[in-house]
Symmetry: C2
Subunit: 345 residues, 2 copies
């Protein structure tokens, strides 16, 4: 017994000394930082994403990692692993990014390239999965046994954290609620189906919905807002701005999107039975009318469906808390989880 306790103490001591680097690889910028076992970030670095070639993008990633280590002023031998969140389809076991539209990547062996370059164990995952890990382990979901993370932005996807680990499913596609059909005769989605949640409620869908209504001659403050800002393309933020000015058309678009989002949270809760649902991504803004409409939709389902009411309360539906650090902390959480599994952390 005494030996066991001594080992545990040593283990804890080593852990506190160890650090990892978390990297948030985006289509326009790369953010990196040094992260400790408590999820605290130091040496934050932001670089533009050089997408002129695969090699250049990988070099920019390597540069961001080295710069973060320098900026954190820590001896490099304390850095034990690197985690990366990548916007696209990722095979974490092979360390390969199969497809990233944003980076212009197809079958890029990210892990092998970086490990050769940096002489450090590297782990990659999809960016939404990484954000889910970050929020689940170090953000608002900290301490929960099970949490579902719903990412709202240009795309919509959910990920579940079960017993402190990302649940990937058989093909790494668990939580693909964004490409689940809610309205079979609805608008065409980029996945090829009609009426997916993403085609009904993601950022581009809100903009497209507004454009359709304007073209049908409905009146709205939206045209004035676009003239003021001298922009040609209507975007989701314009719909939010119009809604904030009590525009009826914008309000209706967000109400409808909120109803679809509420149904998606209802389904995720009925199927995963999580302790918490965390809403993250670019559209998860406190006080936003989209989040308000989603909560109104949830109240409807709680009234309508007694079993759901027992499973989830409004308090258990929370907005992501890590803000700008989400990608870095999430990628670090991936590195920490993977390194611990392989027992070198």
């Amino acid at each position: 017994m005494r030996m066991q306790r001594a080992e545990q103490t040593t283990g804890a001591h080593i852990e506190e000394d160890n650090l990892v680097v978390g990297v948030d690889v985006g289509g326009t910028k790369i953010a990196a930082g040094v992260v400790n076992a408590q999820g605290q970030v130091s040496g934050r670095i932001k670089l533009p994403t050089d997408t002129s070639s695969v090699e250049h993008t990988l070099q920019a990633i390597a540069l961001s990692i080295r710069s973060a280590i320098q900026a954190a002023h820590v001896p490099s031998q304390r850095i034990k692993a690197v985690g990366l969140g990548i916007p696209g389809i990722v095979d974490p076991a092979q360390g390969v990014c199969q497809l990233s539209v944003n980076l212009g990547w197809q079958h890029v062996a990210v892990k092998a390239w970086l490990e050769r370059e940096l002489q450090l164990p590297c782990f990659i995952e999809n960016d939404v999965s990484v954000a889910a890990l970050g929020e689940g382990l170090y953000g608002v979901g900290k301490g929960q046994e099970n949490a579902v993370y719903l990412s709202l932005g240009t795309g919509i996807a959910a990920r579940a954290i079960i017993h402190g680990r990302l649940y990937r499913g058989a093909h790494g596609m668990a939580g693909e609620i964004g490409h689940t059909v809610f309205a079979p005769s609805g608008p065409l989605c980029r996945c090829g189906a009609r009426g997916c949640l993403e085609a009904l409620a993601a950022g581009p869908a809100l903009a497209r919905n507004a454009e359709d209504k304007l073209q049908r001659g409905e009146s709205s403050l939206l045209e004035g807002i676009m003239q003021e800002q001298a922009v040609a393309d209507l975007r989701a933020e314009h719909v939010f701005e119009a809604a904030a000015r009590d525009d009826a058309l914008a309000g209706q678009i967000l109400r409808e999107a909120g109803q679809h989002l509420a149904y998606s949270i209802y389904l995720l809760a009925m199927i995963f039975d999580p302790q918490m649902v965390v809403i993250g991504g670019g559209l998860a803004v406190e006080g936003s009318p989209l989040i308000g409409a989603t909560r109104t939709g949830l109240t409807h389902w709680m009234k309508q469906a007694p079993v759901f009411r027992e499973m989830l309360s409004q308090d258990a539906v929370r907005l992501a808390s890590l803000q700008g650090d989400a990608g870095i902390v999430g990628a670090a959480a991936l590195a920490i989880a993977e390194a611990r599994t392989r027992s070198f952390l």
Copy 2:
């Protein structure tokens, strides 16, 4: 290192000798059997369920366990644990059945009572969860990393087996697809909501749907079938029989129910991303028109939704294979899993 290997060998040896008893507690009968680590059953016993009092029901369960051990002709010291599947809401951690309508139970401390009576570790779970464990670990789902079990009968519920273990969720309610609303203006469900899957496609729903159509004056072979059999109440099996005789009304009822069931499998697959979906329960009969209609509905979704097509094939949707032994083997799987977790098996 040598010590570790020796321990492992001993462990494997002990495991093969060890046996558990699996008990399927139903509202009308109790089935029990002795099960080995390979899921093989011996000493099958079936007793009527004495529901005249809680004490009597518990005594009948204890009797079924002792009888199964006797019938299996094995020394009782080889029996290391007992697993029980109970039709109702179960708290496995406390070992309490909170509510069983079929048994007339409310807050019955099953585990404590049986452990005192039998001097053996006992583990309880909901009967659908137990069937999911049995099919996932020893039945058609054997060898799969993740499987979803969909039980179709008087009720409808799904359960997920993840990495060889039952996934319970935060409140033990993960997989409550039966009480998920698919048609908000649909028929009232016993849970209080309208248009739940269970109210649209479970056995009683099929019968109710047929009765409604008959009362509206639609013509069908159903009335003749009920007269032939001299029964007053229309049941799901009459709808199946009429459909088998090409009755249009019965065929339409099963087609509609199949569409709802297909949508439920679609949702479960998009959210859990399982390697396999196993359909079990009383209505999961090979060649049944309900299963046929469900497969037709799945083909529709596979055509409609490219992402779903990548995640699940018709081959990955299977009928349960354990037949009459499902409850016993599933309960035994629970006992084996729990006993291993507590390392006395």
